[in-house]
């Protein structure tokens, strides 16, 4: 089956594949980029296409298929000329995405996940797309459409039905706003492109300054940036092609965070300048940006910035005339995998493999990209490093708190009057942030994303800082009208979708946890299930291979401790009820027969009330 996108005939297919392969030098390490570009041309990755790519890259075919099967945005089945993906973060849901998606599916006569009979369109969900301040958001053929309304849904359905090319859709649909609400040292910088590079002293002096500034990683883990660069600088490259690499982690996948999108949209020069400085310090000639697939629309603008910088001699050979200062940047696209935000999974992905976290040690600073010393830094960290290089360590150290120097860019979404980007010096209280963004009747904040902390009002005096609440920047707000159980359930499902599946506890535990939450949601849960949940969370935390699994239970354990009533409400059975639902098991038969009368249901009466014990199966309520 072919899609409307695919070119006709095997010859066309072969030609398209060969063109992509030669553009990438038949390099197996570039498999991710090859798969994406071939898919762009042909619509999907059919079995014969995978065989051709395997032959062209001299990789085992099964390995190519394994990589294609790992990433959410690669498809090994035809998914229609229009692929619509609804961002399924809790903030999108709070803005009405569930009803809007149902409306879209109904109008297109589609079930979520299915492809329409004519092969025109498929509609499904995807993990947070980083548009939480302007949701509900969708991706149409990997281009973001924001601020969905019923009207927009109806228009989009018409556009799809009439097979209107995306370029002819209303331009405002694709508008992505920065929504910067509060600027501090970083976002209000007054540097022109190249200023930070012109201020550079010797690599050692720059390194000393970054160390003295107290800069710590902004992705969430908070490792000292100066120390990381120092380790990497001192590590020695090995093998036939020894080299050092700078990698910018722009795989911003944590639900609720979108600050890197804004930095890359409006502060790209500063980010690239930070990469160049990192390269200068550690002795790297090559920088790689790993850009998440959801931000595909930023690729051309970012490449344009890179071109401009090359033209201005801020990238390339002998930067600013300094002999031996060579550095250039290339952008690699991800393809829909949250796990690739984990730095070693990111490196695997950069090398064209499945995004499975590596064993550590060795750490990336000694053995990273292609086994060479690699400094992997977050977008915001690199931008901050550029700022420090230009303005000095002492000035930067003076911002924030004693243990957390500098500022933090927060992505604020959920129940507040002014969602968007807020930059604060470290040490700001949760209460201050809530006041500034116009949040009222706040019941809870989820800080640092699905893997982070759920904060109750009694804790709103706590501070955003490494020594109190560390965060990569996600800050989601829930007011009194929200059901916190549903928040946790949404996150539990997020981890099912995003677990890489390498280790047993995470692969199975995330699913068991989500299933237990669903069981409680459906009114079948009891104390027994709560005990099971604790057991699963313990297993995830102790035994998981990487941070994803270790933190996947946080949302449930936090909310169980702090918002127990939202669970209690649903615990209809006191002790135990099997998860196997006889009534649900009949749903297939109801679908086939088109019946939905009481006789087509099992034990409705029994389920609806505890006193219903003894009523016969099928009795009307």
């Amino acid at each position: 089956m072919r899609t409307a996108n695919s070119s006709g005939g095997d010859a066309g297919e072969k030609g398209a594949i060969e063109a992509v392969l030669s553009r990438h030098g038949h390099d197996a390490a570039r498999l991710m980029q090859i798969l994406r570009e071939v898919q762009d041309d042909l619509g999907w990755l059919s079995p014969s296409v995978l065989t051709a790519i395997a032959e062209g890259t001299k990789l085992p075919r099964a390995r190519v298929e394994g990589v294609a099967g790992f990433y959410h945005f690669f498809h090994t089945e035809a998914l229609g000329a229009y692929r619509v993906l609804w961002s399924d973060n809790i903030t999108d849901r709070m803005l009405g995405s569930v009803d809007l998606m149902a409306r879209m599916c109904k109008k297109l006569w589609l079930k979520p996940g299915d492809v329409s009979e004519d092969g025109l369109v498929s509609v499904d969900t995807t993990s947070c797309t980083g548009m939480c301040d302007q949701g509900p958001a969708i991706l149409v053929n990997y281009r973001p459409v924001t601020r969905l309304t019923a009207d927009r849904v109806d228009t989009i359905v018409d556009l799809i039905r009439h097979k209107t090319p995306l370029d002819q859709w209303p331009a405002e649909y694709f508008a992505v706003e920065d929504n910067i609400r509060r600027k501090d040292a970083l976002l209000s910088h007054d540097l022109a492109p190249g200023d930070a590079l012109r201020a550079l002293k010797s690599p050692q002096e720059v390194l000393d300054a970054v160390k003295a500034s107290g800069l710590r990683g902004r992705g969430g883990a908070g490792f000292s940036t100066g120390q990381k660069w120092d380790f990497c600088r001192n590590a020695i490259g090995s093998g036939a092609n020894p080299a050092h690499y700078v990698v910018c982690n722009a795989d911003e996948g944590e639900p609720g965070t979108f600050k890197d999108r804004v930095l890359l949209s409006s502060y790209a020069d500063l980010v690239f300048e930070g990469m160049t400085i990192a390269g200068y310090v550690i002795g790297a000639k090559t920088g790689l940006v790993y850009l998440r697939g959801e931000y595909r629309y930023l690729l051309e603008p970012l490449n344009a910035v890179l071109e401009r910088r090359r033209a201005a001699n801020l990238l390339g050979k002998s930067i600013l005339g300094q002999i031996g200062f060579d550095f250039d940047v290339e952008i690699h696209m991800g393809a829909g995998a949250y796990i690739c935000g984990e730095e070693t999974a990111l490196l695997e992905s950069l090398e064209g493999k499945r995004g499975v976290p590596r064993k550590r040690p060795p750490f990336p600073v000694t053995s990273g990209y292609l086994g060479q010393p690699t400094a992997v830094n977050n977008v915001e960290t690199l931008a901050s490093a550029a700022l420090i290089a230009a303005k000095g360590a002492a000035w930067y150290k003076g911002l924030g708190t004693a243990k957390s120097a500098g500022t933090k860019v927060l992505s604020i979404s959920g129940d507040c009057a002014r969602p968007g980007i807020y930059e604060y010096p470290y040490g700001v209280t949760v209460a201050q942030v809530l006041a500034d963004c116009g949040a009222r009747d706040t019941q809870a904040c989820q800080i640092a994303g699905a893997s982070g902390l759920c904060i109750a009002p009694s804790e709103f005096g706590r501070r955003i800082a490494f020594e109190d609440i560390p965060t990569g920047g996600s800050f989601m707000i829930f007011d009194n009208s929200r059901d916190i159980f549903e928040v946790a359930r949404n996150f539990a499902h997020f981890f099912v979708d995003e677990s890489c599946g390498f280790c047993t506890p995470c692969r199975v535990g995330t699913t068991l946890l989500a299933n237990a939450m669903d069981k409680i949601h459906e009114g079948h849960g009891g104390e027994y299930d709560i005990n099971d949940i604790w057991r699963i969370i313990r297993t995830l935390k102790v035994a998981s291979h990487c941070g994803l699994g270790q933190t996947a239970g946080n949302c449930v354990s936090d909310t169980l401790q702090k918002f127990r009533p939202s669970y209690e409400l649903r615990l209809n059975v006191r002790d135990f009820e099997p998860a196997f639902d006889l009534d649900k098991a009949l749903s297939k038969m109801r679908e086939v027969t088109g019946r939905d009368d009481p006789g087509a249901h099992f034990h409705i009466a029994h389920r609806k009330s505890k006193s219903g014990i003894g009523t016969k199966a099928g009795d009307p309520v």
């Binding site: 499945r354 390498f502 199975v508 196997f580």
Partner: protein
Amino acid sequence: MSNGQDTKSFFLDEDEIPFEEGQTIIQAALTAGKYIPHLCYHPEFKPHGSCKLCTVRIDSRTITTEDGQTVKIPGRAAASCTTPAQADQHVESNTPELLDLRRTLVQMLLVEGNHFCPSCEKSGKCMLQGLAYDLGVMDPHFPQYFSKREVDASHPDVLLDFNRCILCELCVRASAEVDKKNVFSLSGRGVTKHLICNSESGLLGDTNLAATDKAANVCPVGVILHKRHGFEVPYGQRRFDTAPISDNPVQYAPVKEQV
């Protein structure tokens, strides 16, 4: 501490275990005759640490608080198959917490796949079943996935029953490292992760696997079976019927490379 001049050692529970530089905890322990449960570890392959059955705790501490109470601070948990042994570290393996963790992991594997032991050719010589018995797993506990998995009978000599796959990747590693054929690989991710064969049709029969390949003979459970060889040893007289899986740990010790 009886630290010899050349041999370094660490403590596993209460036993002193000597080790050679470069050995991981499980490799040293098994060589010394101490069993640590495992599934994806195999003496002939480089450990990769996915099943997590061999999880241990390293360097737990006991402190006395100001009011005179002793509190145990648990050490870090790590897969002993991939964690390098270090001199004088204290490793805990046989604790109630870790045994419970391992039972939970076995139960997770039991509900993820479809393990119908009473009719399985591997019953009695299956590592998963053997481990479950040894750990005292009485039931799968969690709700079964009942996932639908196909059987691949396309190969003339070898049968694949994916229902029993625990994703240990031993066949993947064996085919790549020993046979140099790359017959097996993994696709999907998370809950959809699954074993695939190296052919456009996806069928084993279209690969170059031979029944004598290492990959065809390394499966610890009942996925990769040889056709026309079934129940040659009756139930009751099989490997783990005569001795538990934890018996004679040295049998799992890493194979010394012949110099």
